[in-house]
Amino acid sequence: MENLIALLVAAPLLGAAVLLCGGRRLDAVGHWLGTALAAASFVIGVVLFADMAGKDAEHREIGQHLFSWIPVEGFQADVAFQLDQLSMTFVLLITGVGSLIHVYSIGYMEHDERRRRFFGYLNLFLAAMLLLVLADNYLLLYVGWEGVGLASYLLIGFWQHKPSAATAAKKAFLVNRVGDMGLSIAIMLMFTTFGTFAFGPVLESTGETSEGMLTAIGLMLLLAACGKSAQVPLQSWLGDAMEGPTPVSALIHAATMVTAGVYLIVRSGEIFNAAPDAQLAVTVVGAVTLLFGAIVGCAKDDIKKALAGSTMSQIGYMILAAGLGPIGYVFAIMHLVTHGFFKAGLFLGAGSVMHGMNDEVDMRKYGGLRKYMPVTFVTFGLGYLAIIGFPGLSGFFSKDKIIEAAFAKGGTEGWILGGVALLGAAITAFYMTRVMLMTFFGEERWQPAPDPDKAPSVEPGIEVHPGEMPHPHESPKVMTIPMIVLAVGSVFGGAFFSIGDRFIHWLEPVTDHAHGHPPISALAVTMSTVAVMVIGVGLAWLQYGRRPVPVVAPRGSLLTRAARRDLLQDDFNHVVLVRGGEHLTRSLVYVDHTLVDGVVNGTAATMGGLSGRLRRIQNGYARSYAVSMFGGAAILIAATLLMRAV
């Protein structure tokens, strides 16, 4: 059984290698190959899961040691895998949703002549992500960590001819690099503290070092998580990442990669448990991002960016939960899984809508689509209900548990966090309802397709005739089926997990679980959750359901305008980092040329001038040379005489 673990990673990796090096002759079958390998990986995952489920809870963790990676004096880094319940959860999520989205992409990328490469990148991503969750030490995890970063870079920038896409890709990679810095520093700290960075030894011996050190490690890990999971203050890249093809947004920037931060924190639970300050920082980051994303989501008219904001906020929930410690870990992961379902579904739905609307992304130019694309409408609707936490659907269970746990943290912190979580739930309901109404209800506000030359944002290969009105149509089966599957998942997932605390028991061995006791009864929490949800929906209905939606966005309040600009985060980055950096580098180039180089050239120049002056003495008259000779002779004699005298 153990040997299968490597296959999990190997299958998609092989796919990536073949597809990227294969050349054009694979164009015809490339997408099928990619999908097949993703599916194969999923099958392996299922087999392993069956095997694991068969064992009793204590002996479920299995590992596989491939080879010694970097053997250096006192520094042991191996390529070794560890598969426990936590990893397994992720494996199933990644490969499952991944396979579905592969299938979806077959249809979605049908007209793109670089489809083979797209599938190559997707496979590369799967491999890296699986490596991330299967690694048994932090360094190997780091490899997967950067690997998914690379895949996301390639996929965001897949339409490289669009400058916006290229820039977004670069931005994503850079911001992630800042996070990676945190991770690598954390690893160094572990090495200097524990002499190793394998999960086992490190997490077991947390008791043997000071809390300060653990806090430092924890904060560094948090920084890494912020980068990957788009948490404040490193959240700015996620919005732009929507430049990528929609399946990418669904898989990488909603379901899997962005949740890697949550995985990292839950995985390093012992460290955080022993470092309350770090934990507090995590909860704070989570809470802030939760609101931040939600507010941004309310203001965006671009459907994908609205969803991106929601993703940010939902991951905020997870981070918050992860920050709560044992009472939260399980729910963080649970929300992560359910979110994986419904958010992927929502994105795929959005993609399907764009597909039918000539790639229009502005929701103000949608409207009344429900009768044109029923399947999309239904699946999207179910996802919607799930995310706002409609009772009975998956989002309801997971989110409700998180809010409960937040209250359970106790003390003022508990109240604050719980309150924030509740508020977030309300806002979630608001903006998701907004999306829903603007897209599928109301009158049809369709606009003629833009001229692709003027607006390069149109995805290539999809035939768009400038000026032609969109004629929405349901997407092909190959796209709708994955959406249906995901919808099913997002409906029943939560219930399946929570009934009888299945999920808790499943994960408990890995992330020990403690039942939190909120100051107010769980029922009250649930009630209030539902209440705020209803309020949010109602507000949204008043705003967008009753009145017609203007095609051109109104100027809006100060907050709205700020939120449209992602609460000025990019402006801040631009002014502080980009401008400052430009000035710094420019001045440094100048310094290098004038100062460092100038010193040398200056010396040379002085020499030249000096010799130029000395040259005057050489007047070319033999007699004056003779004089100097004669004088020299005299001096020599004087010298000898003096020497003899002395």
Binding site: L20, F67, S68, W69, I70, P71, V72, E73, G74, F75, V79, L139, Y142, V143, W145, E146, G147, L150, Y153, G157, Q160, H161, K162, P163, A165, A166, T167, A169, K170, F173, L174, R177, V178, D180, M181, S184, I185, I187, M188, F191, T192, T193, F194, G195, T196, S205, E208, T209, M213, P456, G581, L584, T585, R586, L588, V589, D592, V596, D597, V600
Partner: protein, 519 residues
């Protein structure tokens, strides 16, 4: 006593003479001859690699003959793990360099029967190879010094004599800038060399011999602390110029910018390595105390190199200059690793020398192919290449990712080792150095974005993708980058014992992890 090492160095030397002697009309014969010789050298280097026993004595395959008796100068060769690795690297890169520069020295107007520079170009490359290899092998300080300096002569002609075709300011400006760069290169390195010569003589006065092998047996000669420090500085200065370390770096950007891509690779990937190698072999072994004394200052300089080089790379408009400044940043890492005085740091540094050689070669050579197509080094002149020449763009990206040391590619291993090794002893410096990771990503990705992505520029339209020859050059390098990134064990196994030795020379132990220390 085998003559394997002598042969390894002598073969390219003879090859150089033979190549230079090829008659003017037989230009291609010269190219093929040079290529074959370099490949044969590669075979010899491989034999050295096989014959070398990592577990064995410190210096192996030694040769020792009296040379200048009066000054105790001996013709003494011998290799330790570090030297073997670098010899292998050199012998490996030269064929690619020759192949990449296949047309760089062709006559401007075809049918020029009397054109000889082609022969000269390849002969000079082989000559450089010979000198580099022997200076890796020399265990006699004086012998090393001679070739350390002699290297400059062929390099001078390579830089000053051969530049990019179709320079933006016309051939006149090009040649003047070339000669400026060449002279600058020569003066900087000569200055370093002369100071080193003084130190070498001083060392002879103190020690009475030049032989490292003797030192390995009998230990370092007794000398006064101040003497040792002065001598150390004399040696280190020369190596720092060659390496190059901030603020002695300014010759490198000019040299790399003006010379053709293969020569630029020769400079930064092969010749400069002698500097860092010599720090490990001579500075640390001959003057352990002084090395420890100077460590803080050197680490700070290295740190400055890392950040400074990266920042300047971001600010460059010329892609070759950009790569040059990136190299300065990487050399900062190497030197930092050497003087961190931990086994991770030094193994990392040695590994870094190898990996940096390969990654820079990949990036620079692809950049060279790009430049040869468009005839301009300015980043702004490109755009959207990825669409017309995907393979070129792909290899360029891989080279770039290697430069920013992406995990999974070779440089990551070495860079991380260096960082860990430094961090273990000097946490603050280690943390600041990690900033280099972010900056590296910045300049690499900006370069890639500006040149490869975006709408296709008119000048770039119809640019041909990599040709077979170019593919033959790049593909092995890429494969090597990935292989060494996933499985660096072969190299580390060779390097580790030598590093252990060096550390024992300076009597330094790795700092114990806190947990064990507590126990």
């Amino acid at each position: 006593m085998s003559f394997l090492l002598t042969a390894t160095a002598a073969l390219p030397a003879l090859g150089a003479i033979a190549t230079a002697a090829v008659p003017a009309a037989k230009r291609n014969a010269a190219k093929w001859l040079a290529l074959i010789v370099s490949l044969a050298t590669l075979v010899l280097a491989a034999i050295v690699l096989v014959r070398f026993d990592p577990g064995g004595d410190r210096y192996q395959l030694t040769e020792s003959h009296a040379w200048i008796k009066d000054f105790g100068v001996r013709y003494e060769l011998g290799v330790d793990g570090i030297a073997v690795a670098l010899i292998a690297l050199t012998a490996l890169l030269i064929p690619f360099i020759i192949l990449a520069g296949w047309h760089d020295a062709d006559p401007l107007e075809t049918g020029n029967k009397r054109w000889r520079p082609t022969q000269g170009f390849f002969a000079l490359i082989l000559a450089v190879e010979a000198m580099v290899i022997i200076s890796f092998e020399a265990t006699d300080v004086f012998l090393f010094y001679i070739f350390f300096e002699a290297m400059l002569i062929p390099m001078y002609f390579l830089i000053g004599g051969f530049g990019d075709r179709a320079h933006e300011h016309g051939e006149e400006a090009a040649s003047t800038q070339r000669s400026y760069a060449a002279v600058k290169f020569l003066l900087y390195n000569l200055a370093g060399g002369l100071i080193m010569l003084a130190a070498v003589i001083g060392f002879y006065v103190v020690a009475g011999h030049f032989s490292l092998q003797t030192i390995a047996e009998n230990g370092v000669p007794e000398m006064a602390t101040s003497t040792e420090r002065w001598l150390f500085l004399g040696f280190f200065f020369a190596f720092a110029v060659k390496a190059p370390l901030w603020p002695l770096h300014t010759w490198l950007p000019n040299a790399m910018q003006e010379s053709t891509a293969p020569v630029a690779v020769l400079i930064t990937a092969v010749v400069d390595k002698v500097g860092t190698f010599a720090m490990l072999r001579f500075c640390l072994q001959l003057f352990p105390e002084a090395s420890k004394w100077a460590t803080p200052a050197i680490l700070v300089l290295a740190l400055i190199s890392i950040i400074y080089g990266a920042l300047l790379a971001v600010g460059q408009r010329d892609m070759k200059r950009l790569v040059a400044y990136a190299s300065i940043s990487h050399f900062g890492f190497i030197i930092m690793g050497i003087f961190a005085m931990t086994s991770q740091g030094q193994s990392g540094a040695t590994l870094y020398m190898v990996n940096h050689g390969i990654s820079t070669a990949a990036l620079m050579l692809v950049a060279g192919f790009l430049i040869s197509r468009r005839g301009s080094r300015l980043i702004a002149d490109y755009g959207g290449v990825q669409k017309v020449a995907p393979v070129l763009a792909g290899t360029f990206l891989i080279g770039g990712l290697a430069t920013l040391s992406l995990p999974g590619l070779a440089p990551f291993v070495s860079e991380f080792l260096v960082l860990v090794g430094t961090f273990a002893r000097y946490p603050v410096i280690g943390i600041i150095a990690t900033l280099g990771i972010v900056l590296a990503a910045l300049y690499t990705l900006v370069l890639y974005q500006r040149t490869m992505t975006g709408p296709v520029k008119a000048e770039v339209e119809g640019m041909p993708d990599l040709r077979v020859r170019e593919l033959v050059v790049v593909a092995p390098l890429v494969v090597l980058l990935i292989f060494l990134g996933v499985y660096p064990k072969p190299v580390t196994d060779i390097v580790n014992p030598a590093v252990k030795q060096t550390l024992s020379d300076v009597q330094k132990q790795d700092p114990k992890p806190e947990v064990e220390a507590a126990k």
